[in-house]
Symmetry: C2
Subunit: 329 residues, 2 copies
Amino acid sequence: MANIQQVAQKAGVSVATVSRVLNHAASVSPKTRLKVENAIKELNYEPSMLGRNLRNSESRLILVLLPSVSNPFYTDIINGIQTTAIANSYHILLCETDSNPQRENIYFNMIKNKLADGVISMDPTVNMQKLNELAESHPVILCSEYEEGGSIPYVTIDSELAAYQAVKHLITLGNEKIALINSDEKFLYARQRRSGYERALKEFNLPTRAEWIYHTKDLEFQNGVQAIRMLLELEEKPTAIFAVSDTLAIGALKGINGSGLHVPNDLAIVGFDNISFSNMTNPTLTTVSQPMYKMGCTAANLLMQSMKGEQVESVVLDHDLIIRESTMG
Amino acid sequence: MANIQQVAQKAGVSVATVSRVLNHAASVSPKTRLKVENAIKELNYEPSMLGRNLRNSESRLILVLLPSVSNPFYTDIINGIQTTAIANSYHILLCETDSNPQRENIYFNMIKNKLADGVISMDPTVNMQKLNELAESHPVILCSEYEEGGSIPYVTIDSELAAYQAVKHLITLGNEKIALINSDEKFLYARQRRSGYERALKEFNLPTRAEWIYHTKDLEFQNGVQAIRMLLELEEKPTAIFAVSDTLAIGALKGINGSGLHVPNDLAIVGFDNISFSNMTNPTLTTVSQPMYKMGCTAANLLMQSMKGEQVESVVLDHDLIIRESTMG
DNA sequence: AATCATTTTGTAATCGATTACAAATTTCTG
DNA sequence: CAGAAATTTGTAATCGATTACAAAATGATT
């Protein structure tokens, strides 16, 4: 592969002139520009990013931290980030942390090593202390999960409100005994969704029972199956379920189908996230839709701003309640 | 962020010595090594990958081409690639082509630009001509989809055999009217799976009917729903379905459930790929499991070899038929 | 034609590492 | 302890681009 020197030689100009042509600088006469362009074509030259990156001390790579690519929750966010990044001639590096601090370190080092210019973190288990440290000297944006009162800009939705509306939807369908399948409340969104759940119940003077709130360890399908098993063994069984994630809801659905009960006649279910599979289950799942794609675009745009050195403000986006078969009795 | 010069100065040695310490070269006395290590710690120094990469003319980045990250089919392969890459101190760049030639070009250019050292392509719609051109001067490995008789090394399974076994399974359950939901036969795997399907039918002297072979445009859930709708309108309805992908099978399942028929009593279904969701459906789905994770590892290992300049041989891995509720009448 | 302003081009330093080769230091040997 | 051998360290070139500044070429004005 030819380098800039060889192009310059072939075109009979200096490397500076070639570089000017490459970067569309104004001050090149049409005549020499043509000579250079011909030389580039003849030699089949492609500028090396390695040289360029070193000189510009940027890699035009951004890191996207997430616990696992297998989680369908992230796919559309990633698409949004990706599209925005490419439009700004950046590339994204998907970084699976597996909630493993060692992996996380590898990625943080890539930033310090100048192998990447900025980070978008979607990992709720990320080491916030380290991330904050990193954010002091490098552009960092949080997406979806964030730190209340923290200094890192974020993009998210109003989880409390979304949960409130989801539960209210169940209430207006006539349900009075509504259970919550929540994840670990060490996560901010879990606390917010619980709070929305309780606000709706209080507003309608419905009972809140501790045994109707089930906390799962993870957000996996199996955790949902487990949760519904416990809830169905209660003396006072709920007639509706609000699960804080679709995978949990789909697990619950599977559990209910297995126990001979019918959704939504015996039990209504609302999930959260509107993952693509929520539309493929039987019955299809009512769920809260986050504007995933837009979240991704927004996060990427904030990061671009931050990398330009501009000040950025956090963004809260709108959500939607998608009503499907699992609540249409 | 400090650079190697500053470290050298602080330690009172030359940059060459610092570099030697960084790269664990043998010929550094313990005394100076200590001095350098202290200086590194004091200055909180991290070597810049940009400088290192330029000098070594490598980026230690590998490209993974795939049509879409949203497809659960790829997640475990990606995991395998990722793990192997990290173990060899490479990073992977997930490249969504969206089957869009322009996007593809961007990624091919990254290789030419030295922004990445090699490619693993899992994109069945990839421009094979361009990929072959690229492969002449850069390391390329195909994963899952491949070119018969081509010169690019690949990792895959024996699709024909897997299809044969899946259909044989349906036959031994007593089914005589077996439909195939295939994707576009421009794809090699589609032709191979059809061939396996036909081999099984022939072996048991069962009828093959053109109307029992349905070709979908894409591998999406909706295509499966559409397919089963057509098949159920036939005069001579099949009693079993073999779908060449789980998403199609799950679409078919949803369609059957919706029509009031029962799986597996009225219709048995076998899918292909064992995506995680195939275990969450109701009923759970019998499917052919490809060793996804291992495929990823193998592909990455082949690429590592190829990047070292070694000759590499293609690999065919074993598959499994996972029997679940959708064929357990 | 001489002078000055403007545009175009070239020279050389620079980004931050690695490494061949030379130089300096230490260790070994008789 | 002199000199050879082995080890450690330093000097300077190098990877491939960008860009400040200087120099050259062109054009405008009188």
